[in-house]
């Protein structure tokens, strides 16, 4: 009997130490990311004035093809395309890809812009469902509509890549609102280091609560919905800390599918976006890393904080849960497809830092944290764990989370300053504290659900019901 209780006690201690160890590793990762994010900002500080930016880069900016895949977007597509056509950039083309919409998306576009079928010689380098037709208008030389059979977002982007002729492609979601000067800001690394830069991502901000006028965020306001508020804090951490820091460490594994610019020839060299994954954005970036590392060619995949695109986020638990499970599934699919790169010294910092961070934060992290929530109180109830230590450990994990969120607010104030009022900072701090009680646990649960879906090889995107931007 004594042997049994010893075994139980040792087992509980081992699990407790594992949870603590993973927690400490995550904390260490966040501190390193924060440090590198601050270094990145000091090395490449933001350029405030758009006119200065224009005078500096307009003459040198390469042509960009913006690819906007659209599926059943009949209500918003015209406003989205209007806002894309009004971007401030010297030389660009908007390629809207109607991905076999079941609604009137195609008709809306044809009728509103007076489009008619046009011939165009295009490449067949990356695979996608058949293109049914191309539409254009001599009055709008910057707009090209591609109508194709349904194949999903990655498939639609591939069609756009084939049809594009510009050296750079900008992949966006059709409902993303890009700030007018975001393109000229995001091409900065392509101008400053054209020989090395293969991709660049910008910041995604949350438009819930903001006033939108003619496809632009006219007035920034915080949403009233708690879930949307928490996501603002999450996005600030993800973009201004994690991506900026990882980019500076040259270990960035993801550029958001909502707004990213890529060298077209590099994307083609890796076969474009991959089918059969819901994490096609991460998959593409990892493929680029693999390609250039295998060829031993110097390259950069950059994240720049200043170019901003706005998106609507879910305000209901069901939709948010689906989205987070899907993101988790996407990350795991990419991790599994490229598992030979993980911790492989041949892939340098991508294998060690990039994949190491996915392993700790995305693969092991949610499991251990959720396991900890379930097992540690159980061990305490069985008298195997000291309550004092349990509480002290939970307190330090939570307060560290708060500290990281507040540190990201500093980066926000220094770099972007998109929060209009001083009291918004206080509100977001309160939200960052409150997220530890309930939301954090729920978020881990969703991620574990994503892991379960991944193990069951579940496919599909689920539904994303949009509330729509608040129009002026």
């Amino acid at each position: 009997m004594t042997g049994w209780s010893d075994w139980l006690y040792d087992g509980a201690a081992a699990i407790a130490w594992l949870v603590i160890g993973i927690g400490l590793l995550q904390i260490l990762l966040y501190i390193v990311q924060l440090f590198y994010a601050a270094v990145a900002l000091s090395e490449r500080p933001s350029l405030e004035s758009s006119s200065l930016l224009w005078s500096r880069y307009a003459g040198l900016a390469p042509q960009v093809a913006i690819i906007a895949p659209a599926y059943n977007e009949e209500l918003t597509i015209v406003a989205s395309v209007d806002s894309l056509l009004a971007l401030h950039y010297p030389d660009f083309e908007v390629i809207v890809v109607n991905d076999g919409s079941a609604d009137a998306t195609l008709r809306q576009l044809i009728d509103h812009y007076g489009l008619s079928p046009v011939p165009r010689l295009y490449e067949d380098a990356v695979s996608h469902a058949p293109i049914r037709g191309l539409y254009g208008s001599p009055n709008l030389p910057r707009l090209l509509l591609v109508d194709k059979a349904n194949g999903g977002k990655a498939d639609a982007l591939n069609a756009g890549i084939n049809v594009a002729r510009a050296p750079l492609i900008c992949a966006i979601d059709a409902d993303t609102l890009i700030e007018p000067d975001a393109l000229i800001r995001i091409v900065r690394p392509f101008v400053e280091a054209p020989d090395r830069t293969v991709a660049a991502g910008g910041t995604i901000r949350i438009a819930n609560g903001c006033e939108v006028d003619a496809g632009r965020v006219a007035k920034v306001r915080l949403p009233r919905n708690f879930l949307a508020l928490v996501q603002i804090v999450e996005y600030l951490r993800a973009f201004l800390m994690a991506r900026l820091g990882l980019s500076r460490m040259r270990a960035l594994l993801i550029i958001s599918g909502a707004f990213g610019v890529f060298r077209r020839d590099a994307v083609m060299a890796v076969g474009g976006y991959s089918h059969g994954t819901v994490g096609e954005d991460m998959e593409l970036v990892v493929k680029l890393h693999r390609h250039f590392r295998d060829l031993k060619q110097p390259y950069d995949i950059a994240f720049i904080a200043e170019p901003v695109a706005w998106t609507e986020v879910p305000e209901s638990l069901r939709i948010l849960g689906n989205q987070r499970a899907r993101w988790q599934r996407g990350a795991l699919e990419t991790f599994a497809r490229h598992s030979d790169m993980a911790l492989n010294p041949r892939y340098g910092r991508i294998g060690l830092i990039g994949f190491g961070q996915v392993l700790i934060v995305d693969v092991i992290g949610p499991l251990t944290e959720l396991g900890g929530y379930l097992l540690l109180p159980l061990f305490w109830a069985l008298g195997l764990l000291s309550l004092d230590y349990l509480l002290a450990f939970v307190a330090i994990v939570f307060t560290f989370g708060l500290f990281i969120s507040v540190a990201t607010l500093i980066l926000e104030e220094v770099e972007l300053r998109r929060l209009p009022r001083a009291r918004d900072l206080a509100l977001l701090t309160l939200v960052a504290a409150a997220e530890n009680f309930g939301y954090r646990q729920l978020s881990n649960f969703w991620r574990v659900r994503g892991l379960w879906q991944f193990l069951r090889k579940q496919q599909g995107w689920g539904t994303m019901t949009r509330k729509g931007f608040q129009q002026v």
Binding site: L47, L52, P119, L121, E123, D388, Y389, L402, E413, A422
Partner: protein, 345 residues
């Protein structure tokens, strides 16, 4: 201290720091908002003084150098001709160049960069000397921008010296380097052209010089660039830039080099040569271009078909013939380009 006490102390410390930071951020924001309200008033006063609608002199409260400098530059970018000269003269009276020189010496990278750019508006000796000093700045962005500002006043160092100092084509691959050579080429094209034949100039700098001269009417360089192209290996990273430069210059003296590169083993070079053949109007290239319309690489097919359509009636005839009885790939490329061109007309 026990481990337990340390954990709690750590938690309290983190909470305290987080709170202090938020309070600090809020106070800084409130202070900035107050400053910005005062700044608006000062901006209006400075705008009036700089535009000459109010006499230069006192301002309400303490003068703000930053606002004055920023307003001067914003206005300088907006106005042209005599108005601009008058504006800059008033800015000088308000000692804006002096402030910019101080910024160029002391500010953060972004501030120094802005100052270097802004000093391009002023051409007094002290400002030019400050810009020359900035060629040794720790930031490559500031060095390039200072060089560009000097070039805008034709006060640049000798080009070969500048190429070496800034590492153009070796350490520095920014497209601003090409812009710099283009700017220098506006005043001293021979000097930029000389880069092409000097043996000690790195190949990357030669390619940058070729691209910089592409939009000039300096046709003397065509034989030089053509020779560089002919002497480059197929795999050379610079070869496409040479061919593109020849196409941009559009001079028939480039014909031999372009015709040669239409047979390159590298698709990128073949595509560049096809585009150049169309721009220059090399009729001898027509047969080869017709063959390239069926090339395995899309970019080559596209450029070859487009080039043929530019080669007058003979080129169009060949394209129509390819569309009618070429190989499937060539037929499709030729027919689509013909249809595209018909729509454009």
């Amino acid at each position: 201290l026990t481990a337990l006490a340390l954990l709690w102390l750590g938690s309290w410390l983190l909470t305290g720091v987080a709170l202090a930071v938020v309070i600090g951020l809020i106070l800084a924001r409130l202070f900035a908002e107050r400053r910005s309200r005062r700044g608006e008033t000062l901006r209006r006063v400075y705008v009036a003084q700089l535009l000459g609608t109010a006499p230069i002199g006192a301002v309400p409260g303490r003068p703000a150098d930053d606002i004055l400098t920023d307003v001067s530059l914003e206005l300088a970018r907006m106005v042209r001709g005599e108005d601009r000269e008058a504006l800059l003269a008033r800015a000088k009276t308000l000692r804006v160049p002096e402030r910019l020189r101080r910024r160029l010496r002391r500010g953060r990278v972004q501030v120094r960069l802005g100052a270097a750019e802004a000093l391009a508006h002023f051409h007094d000796d002290e400002s030019l000397a400050a810009l020359r000093g900035a060629l040794d700045d720790g930031s490559s962005h500031v060095r390039l921008t200072a060089a560009l500002a000097l070039a805008q006043h034709d006060a640049s160092l000798p080009v070969s010296m500048l190429v070496e100092r800034l590492g153009i084509g070796t350490r520095e691959h920014s497209r601003i380097g090409i812009e710099l050579l283009r700017e220098i080429g506006r005043h001293r094209p021979e000097e930029v052209a000389a880069l092409l034949w000097q043996p000690n100039v790195p190949a990357g700098a030669k390619a940058a010089a070729a691209e910089a001269l592409m939009s000039s009417a300096h046709y003397d360089v065509v034989p030089l660039i053509a020779e560089l192209a002919l002497n480059s290996s197929d795999e050379s990273a610079e070869l496409p830039a040479y061919i593109e430069a020849l196409g941009g210059l559009g001079h028939p003296a480039a014909a031999a080099a372009v015709l040669n590169e239409l047979h390159s083993s590298q698709p990128r070079v073949r595509a560049a040569a096809a585009a150049a053949a169309g721009r220059i109007g090399i009729f001898e290239a027509a047969e080869r271009l017709a063959a390239l319309v069926g090339d395995a690489h899309w970019q080559v097919r596209f450029q070859a078909a487009t080039a043929l359509s530019r080669l007058g009636p003979n080129g169009r005839k060949l394209l129509e013939k390819t569309a009618a009885d070429g190989e499937p790939l060539a037929r499709q490329a030729a027919a689509t380009i013909l249809a595209e061109q018909a729509l454009e007309r």
